[in-house]
């Protein structure tokens, strides 16, 4: 499940629930639909409502990074629970996206 907000070409998507292999396809297509619709310069993903996230979430971020790159925009991650921050650090996502 997601909710979103657009302001001055900044698209903020709040993620909720669990991100795993079972749920990530739906999350990806919802985010990509919003990106295509609003063509934001910055995509902010808010993880505050995420209860669980495994490596499938890393691929969600990497794919959205590539999509935003192709549109000349960037990705920022905010409000990561400690455990999710930890696995994103293992994947060195900070090299590619800003993590608050």
């Amino acid at each position: 499940m997601i909710s979103y907000d657009v302001q001055e070409r900044i698209l903020t998507v709040s993620l909720f629930g669990e991100i795993d292999h079972h749920t990530s396809a739906g999350i990806r297509s919802e985010i990509d639909g919003l990106v295509r619709k609003y063509s934001p310069l910055c995509l902010i993903l808010d993880f505050a409502g995420v209860d669980f996230c495994d490596s499938s979430g890393i691929a969600v971020v990497l794919g959205r990074y590539r999509l935003m790159q192709s549109l000349g925009g960037e990705v920022e991650l905010i409000r990561l629970p400690r455990n999710i921050r930890h696995i994103f650090d293992m994947a060195d996502l900070r090299r590619l996206v800003k993590i608050e």
């Binding site: 292999h21 079972h22 396809a25 590539r66 455990n83 994947a91």
Partner: protein, 148 residues
């Protein structure tokens, strides 16, 4: 080391069972009174191993996945996830960070996370026969004691 308790679960390798497996493992291990951090780590490593069995082991043809969880003295736990799927040709290569044979929906980080969140991991695999992943971890705030 003396085994104090165990449970075994066998389920279809379908993605809907990924959350079932990790929640069940966490519920069984609640008797050790793990910290929230430990619960999150256990759920994550189970999710990684079970997802690999489903995605890479079986792919489009779901087969049985088994998960065994054992409790030993001093808060030591062992989680064994097994599939009878495709198997792995080159295990060290498969365990290299960012290596994946999957599509762009995979990051190649599953084994790295399993290594990071457990104290010991062992992988056995035979191409065409299947894969077994065994992870050990100390939980219940006894980490420092157990590790000396």
């Amino acid at each position: 080391m003396k085994e104090l308790n165990r449970m075994t679960l066998i389920f279809d390798g379908r993605s809907v069972n990924e959350s079932f497996a990790r929640v069940t493992a966490a519920a069984f291990l609640a008797q050790l009174d793990p910290t929230l951090q430990e619960i999150a780590e256990i759920k994550t490593v189970v999710s990684e191993a079970v997802t690999n069995a489903i995605v890479h082991g079986y792919g489009d043809k779901p087969g049985p996945v088994s998960m065994k969880v054992q409790i030993f003295a001093e808060g030591k736990i062992r989680i064994t996830v097994r599939d009878k799927g495709r198997g792995i040709e080159d295990i060290p290569k498969a365990m290299t960070p960012c290596f994946t044979t999957g599509n762009e929906d995979r990051a190649g980080m599953g084994f790295s996370i399993m290594q990071g969140f457990s104290d010991k991991i062992r992988v056995r695999s035979l191409p065409g026969k299947g894969t077994t992943v065994v992870m050990e971890k100390y939980v219940g705030g006894r980490e420092a004691v157990s590790r000396g």
